[in-house]
């Protein structure tokens, strides 16, 4: 369960303040597949970063009572001078996960070969993406945060990634932000719409999509 209690967030821009959330209070069940619809620039990614704990709201409080992932596909959480293996050890430690298990899974999944023992700074962006994706799978989070569905790696990796993605969809909750109703329809069972600083929850997914498309 994730609680947003009176959460506000805005950014200062050249033309004044852009409001992302305006005093939003909402409960997000972490055993559901929640789709957040919002137009480009509505603040979907900021919302995701706040839920993950990477960014703090201006006012209000966000409480997480579950193992919540970092935004999936985010590759910036590695120390560039340490090897992939050393980074995995560190992240396993802070999340209280089994180091050997995580290392074995990611080594097998990400297929970095010799690069598994090379500093992160020497890895290609594709390798980093595979590493980050494999790691977030190995962590077995209760709730996965996903910023659009992007495919990483070559075709073979995509097939494997697809299979693993289906597995976590069965085992964990997720929150997926997208501007595409088709994506939300495919992966989610609950809909939220982010618009004008408000986050509106709908019990029926199609209602959320209708509301989202009705914006003019």
């Amino acid at each position: 369960m994730i609680t947003l209690d009176g959460v506000s967030k805005s950014y200062r821009t050249a033309n004044g303040y852009r409001v992302i959330l305006n005093d939003v209070s909402i409960l997000l069940p972490t055993d559901r597949h929640i789709g957040v619809l919002g137009r480009n620039g509505a603040g979907k990614s900021t919302l995701l970063r706040m839920i993950s704990g990477e960014e703090e709201p201006d006012t209000g409080k966000i409480t997480r009572r579950a193992r919540v992932s970092w935004p999936l596909g985010f590759t910036g959480g590695f120390h560039p001078a340490l090897t992939a293996r050393e980074n995995l050890r560190f992240i396993s430690r802070i999340y209280n996960s089994d180091i050997e298990e995580v290392t074995a899974f990611v080594d097998d999944f990400a297929e970095l070969g010799d690069y598994f023992d090379m500093p992160i700074s020497t890895l290609s962006s594709g390798m980093r993406a595979r590493l980050a994706f494999g790691l977030s799978l190995a962590m077995r989070f209760d709730f996965y945060l996903i910023d659009e569905i992007v495919s990483v790696g070559d075709y073979w990796f995509r097939a494997k990634a697809q299979a693993e993605f289906d597995r976590i969809r069965n085992e964990s909750g997720m929150l997926l932000v997208s501007h595409s109703p088709a994506t939300i329809r495919k992966f989610c069972d609950t809909g939220l719409v982010l618009r004008n600083g408000r986050l509106v929850m709908f019990d029926a997914l199609e209602d959320a999509i209708d509301f989202y498309l009705d914006d003019d």
Partner: protein
């Protein structure tokens, strides 16, 4: 069709869905357990990134103070300067230098805790304060190890460098670590808010060093100058370090209460700095 805008659901008490809600005490203990785990993980990671793949890294930690002490001892000998209070010049330099280096290296590590670990903000359980604590602990541990090695080296070379009051020296080392961490964290927060203040780091370090008494005993300083030197809390700690280390030296100028005042004051500035800098840091790397 336009759907009516409905009000956001209000947060309800968290009792549903089988998630146990911990008591405030349980929550605190759980939080402390997480913090301990995070600090241990950061210490282990820092050992890798700082001393790195090059084992010479460890060696440098010993070589730098050793070279400094040997060079100055040589200069003092050439100037005909004698030891005081029954202690050798080497011992005065060693005791002063270890306290000074522990302070300044901890301060340096603490003030760069955020800059060099920006990627950690993505993990919600890691705070910059954890990084500062981990770095201070690692610095203290390193310096105690270096101190032991240097004492052994000087002892093997025939110098009398034994510590009269090991607990007193340990307390002094803990104090300089704490002062360094709090001062460093304050600087780190100021730099987040106003990066142009970087010059104060180098300037303050020079002033603090030359007035700290690493290079002299406070009794050698003319009384009218000593008043100013004694504004520097490090001058007090270094005097106290020597008082504990050297049997025949009684640390006439070291004032524990004055040092404690600085510790409290720097804790306050670090806490205020953290509150102000926290918001600036989060999300700043996008």
């Amino acid at each position: 069709m336009r759907l009516p805008m409905r009000p956001d659901p209000q947060p309800r008490p968290l009792v549903s869905r089988g998630v146990p809600v911990p008591s405030p005490l349980g929550e605190l203990l759980q939080g402390l357990a997480v913090q301990r785990r995070v600090i241990v993980a950061i210490v282990l990671r820092e050992v890798r990134t700082r001393f790195g793949q090059y084992h010479l890294g460890y060696l440098w930690a010993v070589i730098v103070p050793l070279l400094f002490i040997m060079t100055l001892a040589f200069v003092y000998a050439a100037l005909g300067r004698r030891a005081a209070h029954g202690a050798s010049v080497e011992l005065l330099l060693l005791s002063g230098m270890m306290a000074w280096l522990t302070f300044t290296d901890t301060q340096n590590q603490a003030s760069r805790a955020y800059q060099t670990n920006r990627q950690l903000v993505v993990y919600p359980m890691v705070s910059v304060v954890d990084i500062v604590i981990a770095r201070a602990l690692l610095e203290l541990g390193t310096k105690l190890a270096v101190m032991t090695i240097l004492i052994t080296l000087f002892w093997a070379a025939g110098y009398d460098v034994g510590i009269a009051d090991p607990l007193g020296v340990a307390a002094a080392m803990l104090t300089v670590t704490y002062l360094g961490a709090m001062f460093g964290h304050t600087i780190g927060c100021v730099l987040v808010i106003a990066p142009s203040f970087l010059f104060i780091v180098a300037t303050s370090r020079r002033i603090l060093f030359f007035t700290s008494g690493v290079l002299f005993l406070l009794s050698d300083v003319p009384a009218e100058w000593r008043t100013y030197v004694l504004y520097n809390p490090l001058a007090h700690v270094i005097d106290l370090t020597r008082g504990a280390w050297i049997e025949s030296y009684s640390a006439p100028y070291g004032d524990v209460v004055y040092v404690a005042g600085w510790a409290v004051g720097l804790t306050a500035t670090a806490a205020v700095g953290e509150l102000v800098a926290r918001r600036r840091r989060l999300g700043a790397n996008r």
